[in-house]
């Protein structure tokens, strides 16, 4: 009897094994349409942007992110991202004072798709994680129950989260996952905020002319006379590196800069090299906003560099800089005029980056 049934069992078993192992995988139909891929338009001459595979750009994600950027729904104190990132200041504000009393010159949200580090000391190196800290008491002072309640009863957000990330029933999503998706959406939006149409860009594309003063300023910027280009070169007008430019001769607390993150002695006093795009609009200057005007910045580089600063960048102590740059009054004025050619009014007025409300 045993052998009567083993033969057909073997046949059936073999067929099943054959079918299961050679079957091609088919996607499971969830009934949720996939978000629409969004292709970022890369300006001519720009490098490849940093877009992680885990958070690709989609039309729906960007739309959701833009709303969240301007909505104080995330906070208990009335703040939104735009509270500290105003369009008329190149998506920044002059100063933010931390609860510790530390003053921070707020970095602008411009060309973030090309940043490899965020914050002055590079405390975060993934844009899609950067915003998580904003839920804390320092910025939004978010309340978990409040966020769930507000999103769940909102006329638009449930559908937007569903379309962007396939998330049904916001109230059932674990809070860390919801926070992450909020930040992902905002990051997608921020990656679209591209500035590439300043007067200088137009000049390079033969669509504008520079004044004589601006041309003289360009020569100072792009030569050993001013030597701005080594750190503020490329189309980003930033090397995307960290540098100690000799602000302080004694480094204590926040002035330790990048070394507070890496623990490395040779990172002491280093801060993120900021873009100079729209620099005219983002006073005050340096990580702590110590310089109120571009004229003060130029004068610092001309005569105020602390050569004794520990770990100062070698480029700051070249022979021709040990006694300052030696710029005349006219040179300094021309250099400031040149810096203003990096202002991009097209970016400032782009309605796609402004509030949808």
């Amino acid at each position: 009897m045993y052998f009567r049934f083993t033969k057909p069992l073997f046949i059936i078993f073999g067929i099943i094994v054959l079918l299961v192992t050679c079957r091609k995988d088919k996607p499971i139909d969830t009934g949720i349409p996939s978000p629409t891929p969004y292709e970022l338009e890369i300006p001519k001459g720009f490098p490849k942007p940093v877009i992680p595979a885990f958070n690709p750009l989609t039309v729906e994600g960007i739309q959701l992110g833009r709303m969240l950027y301007y909505d104080n729904i995330l906070s208990t104190n009335g703040r939104s991202c735009s509270s500290c990132h105003n369009s008329d200041k190149s998506y920044s504000i002059p100063i933010f004072v931390l609860q510790t009393g530390e003053r921070i010159s707020v970095p602008p949200h411009i060309n973030l798709a090309w940043n490899s580090d965020f914050n002055w000391n590079g405390s975060e190196n993934v844009l899609d994680h950067e915003g998580i800290a904003d839920f804390g008491p320092e910025f939004f002072n978010s309340n978990q129950d409040s966020i769930y309640a507000r999103f769940s009863r909102h006329a638009l957000y449930p559908d937007l989260f569903l379309k962007a990330f396939g998330l049904r029933n916001i109230a059932k999503i674990p809070y860390p996952e919801l926070q992450q998706k909020i930040v992902y959406a905002i990051s997608q939006f921020m990656r679209t905020m591209i500035s590439s149409n300043s007067k200088l860009d137009q000049y390079k594309n033969h669509k504008a002319t520079l004044t004589a003063a601006e041309m003289r300023g360009a020569e100072i910027y792009m030569s050993e006379k001013g030597d701005c280009f080594h750190c503020h070169g490329s189309v980003l007008y930033s090397s995307n590196a960290f540098s100690n430019n000799g602000l302080d001769s004694i480094l204590v607390g926040p002035s330790e800069g990048r070394s507070l993150i890496t623990g490395k002695i040779y990172d002491r006093g280093k801060f993120s090299v900021p873009t100079l795009r729209n620099i005219e609009l983002t006073a005050p200057y340096m990580h702590d906003g110590r310089f109120a005007t571009l004229e003060e910045v130029v004068e610092f580089y001309n005569s105020g560099v602390k050569l004794s600063s520990p770990n100062i960048d070698p480029l700051m102590t070249k022979t021709n800089k040990q006694f300052g740059l030696g710029l005349t009054h006219q040179d300094k004025s021309d250099l400031v005029q040149f810096l203003k050619t990096l202002t991009d009014t097209v970016f400032m007025n782009n309605k796609n980056f402004q509030s949808p409300f």
Binding site: K7, F10, I11, F13, G14, V17, L18, V20, T21, C22, K24, D25, G45, F46, P47, K48, W114, A218, E219, M222, S223, E224, F229, G233, S234, V235, L236, S239, N240, A241, Y266, L307, S308, I312, D313, P314, L315, M316, T317, K318, T319, N320, Q322
Partner: protein, 237 residues
């Protein structure tokens, strides 16, 4: 028993019905890996202090350079040309290794290349928009093209002062020509080249920070000293 083997065979066949495509091994690889030393010591950025021929005590913070126009040389003249614009940054280990998949199996008696960008490509924006490459741009107002070399650090004079040896412009291209037998094997070969940084400061010119200065960019007489010294910075190991 016959049926048992049939069914076992079916099962084996079923489980070996893989979805993955068959992998075809690529051509044998030829790799060049770069090593950086100061005389007999492995280069240590930021940390170790070295002494050059002039007696200057110095340490290295950054070392970036281009390698281009690699030629694997044969006495017969049947050389192999590897067109490349290879940007090396010693802070990035990945950038110190380069692999070619083309078959260059054979015996050679030397290698030549440039430290820098060959004149045909040493034109502003010619090498594309990669950010690291853009950061090597040589300003148009100073001749355009690219930095061939950025060798930066600190040296001790009365105080500790920075130095920046930046080389550029076509006339300062550094030509490397090493005559040494080596073979590239059928199953792949890793050719190791070693740069001795001490050579930048000597042979034929003894470079002295105290008298020559601590930066050279745009100063032809000083760039020429470093360019000539650079002819023998590399060896095959």
């Amino acid at each position: 028993m016959k049926l048992f083997f049939i069914y076992s065979g079916l099962i084996v066949f079923a489980f070996s019905c893989k979805k993955n495509p068959i992998v075809i091994e690529p051509n044998p690889k030829f790799t060049i890996s770069l090593n950086h030393v100061v005389e007999t010591s492995h280069l240590s950025l930021y940390k170790d202090w070295y002494t050059n021929q002039a007696g200057n005590k110095y340490r290295v913070r950054h070392l970036r350079y281009f390698i281009s126009n690699i030629v694997l040389k044969r006495n017969t003249g049947n050389n192999v040309f590897l067109p490349v614009h290879w940007l090396v940054d010693v802070e990035s280990e990945l950038s110190t290794v380069r692999t070619w998949l083309q078959n260059v199996e054979g015996n050679y008696n030397g290698i030549s290349f440039f430290i820098g960008v060959d004149s045909a490509s040493n034109v502003t924006d010619a090498l594309g928009s990669n950010l690291e490459v853009q950061n090597m741009a040589w300003p148009d107002m100073m001749g355009g093209g690219y930095h061939f070399l950025q060798f930066e650090g600190d040296y001790v004079s009365k105080d500790t002062v920075g130095f920046a040896m930046h080389l550029g412009r076509n006339s300062q291209l550094v030509k490397i020509d090493i005559n040494k037998d080596f073979s590239v094997l059928k199953n792949g070969t890793n050719l190791k080249l070693t740069m001795d940084l001490s050579e930048w400061f000597k042979n034929p010119y003894t470079y002295n920070f105290d008298t020559d200065g601590n930066y050279i960019m745009g100063i032809d007489s000083l760039m020429q000293k470093i360019s000539k010294n650079g002819n023998d910075v590399f060896q095959i190991h």
